[in-house]
């Protein structure tokens, strides 16, 4: 057992965990934030994607202890002051989710993608979504939502 101190969605936490605890288990079981999901065991599906120090990572492939001192943002922490993040807005407005299970990871990945590349081409979007699987939408509307997110983010930036 070991101690992990980290920040999740701006809140400081300290947990006692087994060394083999994965970050996703810390988030779901210890911090009880169940919006981050687990869809596979081989780091393929991306349902567990969160931001660690501002970058999209798969929380099923990081040990909780590796996140000591880190700033974690999960889907629950993306909306600010009750206002949806542009990527969240775009996902619903483009009907880019159906069952919603992959959606938190998908949204966190897209938020990460657009941070590095605010105006991606179609090919860059496909490449940027390689770490996330969705079984319901056929991805067509997800790709639309990425473009819509980019537009909304650009507008948000301008209006600042």
């Amino acid at each position: 057992m070991a101690k992990v101190e980290l920040t999740i969605n701006g809140k400081n936490h300290c947990f006692e965990v087994e060394d083999r605890t994965l970050l996703v288990n810390l988030i779901r079981d210890h911090a009880q934030l169940t919006g981050t999901h687990v869809g596979c065991d081989t780091s393929q599906c991306g349902a567990c994607t969160v931001h660690m120090n501002g970058e999209a990572i798969k929380s099923c492939t990081v040990f909780a202890l590796q996140a000591n001192g880190a700033q974690i943002t999960t889907i629950e922490g993306l909306a600010k002051n009750g206002k949806l993040h542009p990527v969240q807005q775009a996902f619903t407005q483009c009907h880019a989710l159906q069952c919603g299970f992959c959606t938190p990871g998908m949204i966190m990945s897209v938020a990460g993608l657009l941070k590095n590349n605010p105006k991606p081409t179609d090919e860059q979007i496909y490449h940027g979504l390689e770490g996330n699987l969705c079984r319901c939408t056929g991805y067509v509307n997800i790709v639309k939502a990425v473009k819509k997110s980019a537009e909304l983010l650009a507008t948000q930036k301008q209006s600042r």
Binding site: V38, Q44, T74, Q93, G100, F101, Y126, N132, Y139
Partner: protein, 776 residues
């Protein structure tokens, strides 16, 4: 072009949404099976067979029981003691010569024998998931290996090893449809006969949410409370009760909120859940289990897995005269609840596809193999039969040197012949296939293909075009009717209870839209509740599956709204002191005729109970249909196929939400694309080990596989219900298999290639081209 009919957005808490359910799902507030917890819960982990076929000589749990945190270990002996030995099976019709299916027992934990890799041998219950997993490694099982049979054709051969001693020839069921003698005669007299065998490959639904359950037992009420993914809690309760030694359904409370995809795979109650009931009762704690993805691959029911031979007879005018279908359906090691019925009844209903064929015969043989069970998967036999027919029709066109669109046009059932009784006895309700197909041909510029082919060729790419026109039955289900309970509250809001459980289809929006339309109340004021254990047991209705929910429960939402208005008019009349006939209703307000007296729905509901239950029966079925046309470019250097255009023209009757319908079509087409180009459950033929037990090996579709899609409608209205709805959930899967394979085979015609079985992986397409080149 696409998404040209986007429905308006709804406003909830200041957020603009496509669907009412979206707000919780995009903010991480959805509640899926593994999100349920009980502070006192214990964790289960299953020890699974590491081999395909073996007798269990002994199981030693001593060391495992010593492991810190372990509370108990259960094995087949406990299944036997509980009597949890037989899962439900929905195969209700008689087979060939009146035969009844031989349904093998499937104890919730294996007794004496394991029959596929992943079969559950023991269940460890411990204080943590990790402790349970560690202890599984400490269980010692001595096996006596038996030869395994993986291939369904081999399993049916005389002398094959038997998977169940009491099922001779590994074939528990055989069934027929139509008239064999007529078909044989017509084939003998035909001017041309085309015969094609296709493998409608075994795949897995892979909803993104893995299976999970939290199961508690209450000593005082003797009730079990279950949280698990479900497509409809009635069907789930019924299966739980049946599996648990025919316990009363009242003893099972099922509470389900969000479900992370279903596709038929979440319609079954699985043995793990029933084993957990034993532990929950014995230990007095809630038991939690969350499947790994590997376990999902190994033990969730698979889909398709049908070997189909189609023999199509034509006269000298290329009019179809007879079709014979010989079908071997691989069901795995046991019969799943939905598998046999899906893979026999559904194809029998549409055995002639969209064509006028006077003589039909289908022969279905069920095979058992040492593999995971097969059950309904999006379309459940409908995509399989449509694929076989659309492939044999394209092959016939090739053999006759005809344009496949012309051959189809000659044989479509004319619009004026609906309702059309098929030679297997089903009645297609309504469709206008020639108009629908003409629209698809025109929108896809079918006739301009040659120019596009040449321009692709100039880039070194082989371009192909394929079409598929299909029809499928929907509306019927296990329950004779669908009910909706609709109530108003003092805030003037409405709540509808249903058992048709959304697994992503968006019922909380589309059902609300129907009620909103009928009652002229904003959608945002209508709540659709599903999987509520307090209400669901009092509602009859079918689970969501078979494209039926909008046809059934959706239509009844409309009926319930009308009924509520009438019932509330009577209540309002009492309050307003007039005759009910004097009360009019508009936009949530009841008004007495010729006076200013009125009362709002909310005011009425604050004084009196405003609640109705409405019902509708849909077992006669309606028949969504559609035509898909796609073009692909094949890179002969690598064998990669790229989809360059995809058009759907669907007749799903009246459309409530175009946004949701388009989403359903997108998703289903891409699931079809997945099966066509990569998805495939593969077992080692000798050892029975699964080669594709993870997303690193099983090829899931990814973003960019389908770059764009044009979704169009060409509706004819169903008369099955008052709204004309036909259903759409499975249409995309049903049509896409044939369209895409036809397109790739068309691209490869220049090499003389006539057929390739799915999956059309780059490696296989390349090898097929190379082989064809070497033979020229």
């Amino acid at each position: 072009m696409d998404q040209h009919h986007h429905s308006p957005l709804f406003t909830v808490d200041g957020a603009k949404l496509s669907r009412l359910e979206d707000l919780r799902l995009i903010t991480g507030k959805g509640r899926y099976a593994s999100d349920w917890n009980d502070p006192q819960q214990l964790h289960a982990c299953f020890l699974r067979a590491d081999r395909a076929h073996a007798n269990i000589v002994s199981i030693n749990t001593d060391k495992a029981l010593q492991h810190p945190g372990v509370k108990a270990i259960y094995t087949g002996a406990d299944a036997l003691a509980a009597g949890y030995l037989r899962s439900a099976n929905f195969l209700t019709f008689a087979g060939k010569d009146g035969m009844k299916a031989l349904v093998p027992d499937r104890p919730c934990l294996a007794i004496g024998k394991v029959r596929f890799v992943g079969d559950q041998v023991a269940m460890v219950v411990a204080q943590s998931h990790l402790a349970a997993q560690d202890a599984c490694d400490l269980i010692e099982v001595v096996y006596e290996d038996l030869p395994a049979v993986i291939d369904p054709v081999a399993a049916l051969q005389p002398g094959s090893v038997l998977i169940h001693d009491d099922i001779p020839g590994n074939s528990p069921f055989e069934a027929e449809a139509g008239n064999e003698a007529e078909v044989t005669q017509a084939i003998a007299k035909a001017a041309h006969v085309t015969k094609l065998s296709v493998d409608c490959t075994r795949v897995t639904a892979s909803p993104m949410e893995p299976r999970a359950a939290l199961i508690a037992y209450d000593k005082t009420t003797e009730q079990y409370t279950v949280h698990t993914p479900s497509q409809g809690v009635n069907m789930t309760r019924r299966q739980f009760a049946a599996y648990a030694n025919n316990m009363s359904e009242d003893k099972i409370r099922v509470e389900v909120e969000d479900v992370g995809g279903g596709f038929g795979q979440r319609s079954s109650v699985y043995p793990e859940y029933v084993a957990m009931m034993i532990a929950a009762k014995a230990l007095g704690h809630s038991i939690k289990w969350v499947s790994t993805r590997t376990e999902s691959f190994l033990t969730d029911t698979h889909g398709r897995g049908n070997l189909i031979t189609a023999t199509l007879a034509m006269d000298e005018n290329a009019q179809f005269t007879a079709l014979r279908i010989d079908w071997i359906t691989d069901m795995g090691a046991f019969l799943s609840p939905t598998g046999p019925v899906s893979h026999i009844r559904n194809p029998s209903t549409c055995l002639n596809g969209v064509y006028k064929i006077p003589a039909l015969y289908g022969h279905f043989k069920v095979a058992l193999t040492n593999t995971a069970l097969v059950a309904a998967y999006r379309g459940a036999g409908r995509p399989d039969i449509a694929y076989a027919i659309e492939r044999v029709v394209d092959t016939a066109a090739l053999e006759l040197n005809m344009n496949p669109a012309d051959l189809r046009r000659r044989n479509y059932i004319p619009a004026n012949e609906f309702p059309y009784k098929t030679a297997t006895g089903s009645v297609y309700e309504c469709a206008d296939l020639p108009t629908l197909s003409a629209k698809a041909l025109q929108l896809s510029d079918w006739s301009g293909f040659e120019a596009r082919r040449l321009s692709s060729l100039a880039k070194g790419k082989l371009r192909g075009i394929g079409m598929s026109t299909v029809i499928e039955g929907t509306g019927a289900g296990m329950y004779p009717k669908d009910e909706i309970e609709l109530s108003a509250n003092a805030a003037g809001e409405l709540t509808a209870h249903t058992v048709a459980h959304s697994q992503g289809q968006g019922h909380q929006t589309s059902f609300a839209m129907l009620i909103s339309d009928a009652m002229q109340i904003p959608v945002e004021k209508i709540k659709i509740k599903q999987g509520d254990p307090a209400r669901s047991p009092h509602i009859v209705g079918n689970h969501s599956g078979g494209s039926r929910s909008m046809v059934g429960a959706g239509t009844v939402c409309h009926l319930a709204a009308l009924k509520l208005i009438e019932a509330a008019k009577s209540l309002a009349a009492e309050d307003l002191g007039v005759e009910p006939s004097q009360v009019s209703y508009s936009k949530g307000v009841f008004q007495a005729a010729g006076s200013r007296k009125k009362i709002t729905l909310g005011e009425l509901a604050s004084k009196k109970t405003v609640s109705v239950k409405a019902e509708g029966a849909f077992s006669k079925q309606t028949f969504p249909n559609g035509s898909h046309i796609t073009e692909v470019e094949v890179d002969p250097e690598t064998g990669v196929s790229e989809i360059v255009s995809y058009l759907t023209v669907d007749d799903c009757g009246h459309v409530v939400s175009h946004t949701i319908v388009e989403g359903q079509v997108h998703g289903a087409v891409v699931q079809g694309l997945g099966q066509v180009f990569g998805e495939h459950i593969v077992y080692d033929k000798q050892t029975g080990q699964m080669i594709t037990a993870s997303f690193s090996d099983y090829v899931m579709p990814k973003a960019g596989d389908l770059k764009s899609i044009q979704v169009e409608e060409c509706p004819t209205m169903s008369k099955l219900g008052p709204l004309g709805i036909k259903g759409v959930g499975e249409a995309g899967c049903t049509a896409s298999l044939g369209a895409l394979v036809n397109a790739v085979v068309n691209a490869l015609h220049p090499y003389g290639i006539k057929h390739i079985d799915m999956p059309l992986t780059p490696a296989k397409v390349w090898a097929t081209i190379e082989q064809a080149k070497s033979q020229r």
